[in-house]
Amino acid sequence: MGIISAIGNNVEENYTALIEGKTGISKISKIDTVHKNEIMVGEVSYTNNELENLIGLNSDNNYSRTALLGVIAAKQAIKDANITNIKEYKTGLISATSVGGMDMTEKYYYDYDENEEARRYIDSHHAGDSTQKVAQQLGIEESLVTTISTACSSAANAIMLGARLIKSGRLDRVVVGGADCLSKFTINGFKTLMILSNTYNTPFDENRKGLNLGEAAAFLILESDTIVKAKNKKVYAYVKGYGNANDAFHQTASSEYGDGATLAMEKALSIAGINASDIDYINAHGTATGNNDLSEGRALIRVFGEDMPDFSSTKAYTGHTLAAAGAIEAVYSILALEHNVIYPNLNFKKQMKEFAITPQLKLKSKNLNTVLSNSLGFGGNCSTLIFSKQA
């Protein structure tokens, strides 16, 4: 696994922040937006220059920040999985992004006529570009490399597709995850939807004021049983279940009772061949918007009924990292399994009045076998992943 987010530049730093309850939300420093005093974000600490140096890129590169973050996280994942020869097995890459190269698009939008040097970024505008750069940096060639963009469930869907590609035997190994950087485009977009909080986001709190945007990238390495056996690999967890469904309700809002999220969770449980009662912890999507937390909470109640497992949202740590969120939270879910720990849902003060479920508010040690993670997005896109210690 590899990760870079507002709460850390690698897996260890992210884990430490999670168990110490340390948020990465702050005022914005790297984008000069007129909204800088009204919003809070989850920014990665490195500047583009620092990221370029870490990767070892020349100054004439055309990497968007999304690609820079993606490469850092993907390289960590390769190292963590002890992969020294990527060509030894048939390896693909499935990435996810929604912002893509938009940071450079908006920076140079009107400059291309005059500024010939900036034109190198024209090739990095499309959403597949960051994925291609990750593939190139990892040495993945002549292979299946593609990108999913289903808004805020994108990376969960990348993990889902990766699991299916291995299951079907099409690939032996697949690098899955996602990356999204902050941009004026998303800041202003969410601002117009009036779902940005002007302070720290408070998932599942009665007085929640909306989300904080974040930037991040995370990648995980999925390998077939054959590789695991042949190489005697350490397995963090198994992708036990997955489900995607559509709310078919509204382009941006979730249905009142979370039909899509309910279906996604039910599908994932069915694929995993387990019951709702087998879930030990839920890493909720929990963006802290009025609409999401109500709809998702009701969906959780529909699936889990009275026996609600411990649940929390980690959005108060990282902000909402959009297309990357599913991968970020997959890493967090797997770390929870590894360390048998449930992260506190930060900033919660008041119980929501519509239902009685309350997120886990303190760090909790508990033996965990199976963790469920939700990712819900625009276009009614709802995804659930289930990770387990057992195959």
């Binding site: 570009d129 291609q132 060639e141 292979s143 490399v145 593609t146 509204h250 382009q251 009614g380």
Partner: protein
């Protein structure tokens, strides 16, 4: 494992392809470097008020999917999977330019909402109230093939019985402008009848939507069997022959078994070398077809290539206008499609007669 079939098609392109009872009966010849689509009467398929609100990409996607679903005689599907290189590009441009021009003030959410890449798939789902699996792939020239591969795996494994799959992209003025600057769009206007003789860099940019209903049950009016797909992020021209032979071998075929090769030549003197290599060497004795002189180039134009392959297999006719050579074939049983854009993101798709 179940076999996968193309039950129906719906195409909106720079040719009059929206009427499934025809097959390139009349060809529109262009003399330009950017071409648009020949629009169907959209309000025949969606309510006029709704059609007015829709971005072009959404409108093309929704209507092409309706045409395909009408032909298949179904009102819903188990899953919707789309490919799009750039999504609803006009709205993306509108929102970026508004941010810059108005200094992040007075913005409205409509164009932001529509700019999300999965808007077309989401809108189709909303329209037919499909709560099933809904994915959108956004990887340049293999966006459509990624969607196709996903659908094929689900149908083979019986995770779904019918799936709507499509590719859609729309033109937008800023993107056209900057792609002209870097000559990804040809500097000069080109006659579509002479595209491959242009000997200049760049392509003729375009837009379109091609949707298909796929299923895992063979029906009487089926277009073709979708036999195999392979995607390569990179492929050197030196390795192209090996890759294609390997792909055919995996499907128990050799080059001689291919009845028609459909290639994605777009008239770019640099990158057409890949297609020319196959035309002149490995496939020199095989009937060959091309299509981007009719459709133009866009990230998901290979979905038009598949439309063409499906139509050829169903009608057993090859329109003269698409022929790259004059080699004749009696019965068309096996069709191979090859596409790449600017030397990256290559794909092979294998279709068989039903």
């Amino acid at each position: 494992m179940k076999s996968v079939y193309i039950d129906s098609v719906g195409s909106i392109s720079s040719q009059k392809t929206f009427d499934n009872s025809e097959f390139l009966n009349e060809i529109t010849v262009y003399n330009d470097n950017v071409i648009s689509v020949i629009d169907p009467v959209y309000k025949d398929y969606v309510a006029p008020a709704a059609a007015r609100r829709m971005a072009k990409g959404i409108k093309m996607g929704v209507v092409a999917s309706k045409i395909a679903m009408n032909e298949a005689g179904i009102e819903n599907v188990d899953a919707i999977i789309t490919g799009t290189g750039m999504g609803c590009l006009v709205d993306s441009e509108k929102f970026v330019s508004a941010i810059i021009n108005d200094k992040e003030q007075y913005l409205t959410p409509t164009s932001f909402i529509q700019s999300t890449h999965n808007t077309v798939a989401g809108q189709i789902a909303l329209g037919i109230e499909c709560k099933g699996y809904n994915f959108t792939y956004v990887h340049s020239s293999v966006s459509f093939e990624s969607a196709l591969l996903d659908a094929k795996m689900q149908l083979e494994n019986e995770e779904a019985a019918t799936i709507l799959v499509g590719g859609v992209d729309e033109l937008a003025s800023h993107t056209i402008g900057i792609h002209k600057l870097v000559t990804h769009i040809k500097q000069e206007k080109v006659s579509s009848t002479k595209l491959l003789e242009s000997k200049t860099t760049g392509a003729v940019f375009s837009e379109g939507a091609n949707f298909f209903v796929l299923s895992n049950e063979k029906k009487d009016n089926c277009y073709a069997e979708l036999a195999a797909i392979e995607i390569y992020n990179t492929l050197n021209i030196e390795n192209l022959d090996n890759a294609i032979i390997g792909f055919l071998n995996e499907n128990n075929l050799s080059v001689a078994d291919i009845d028609i090769l459909i290639q994605g030549n777009n008239g770019d003197v640099i990158y057409d070398t890949y297609y020319n290599h196959l035309s002149h060497d490995l496939f020199s004795k095989i009937p060959q077809v091309y299509y981007k002189h009719l459709s133009g180039e866009f990230n998901t134009v290979s979905s038009f290539g598949m439309w063409l392959g499906a139509k050829i297999l169903k009608t057993q006719k090859v329109p003269n206008e698409v022929k790259l050579n004059n080699i004749k074939v009696e019965t068309i049983k096996t069709v191979l499609l090859y596409n790449q854009y600017r030397g990256e993101n290559h794909s092979f798709v294998l279709l068989r007669k039903c």
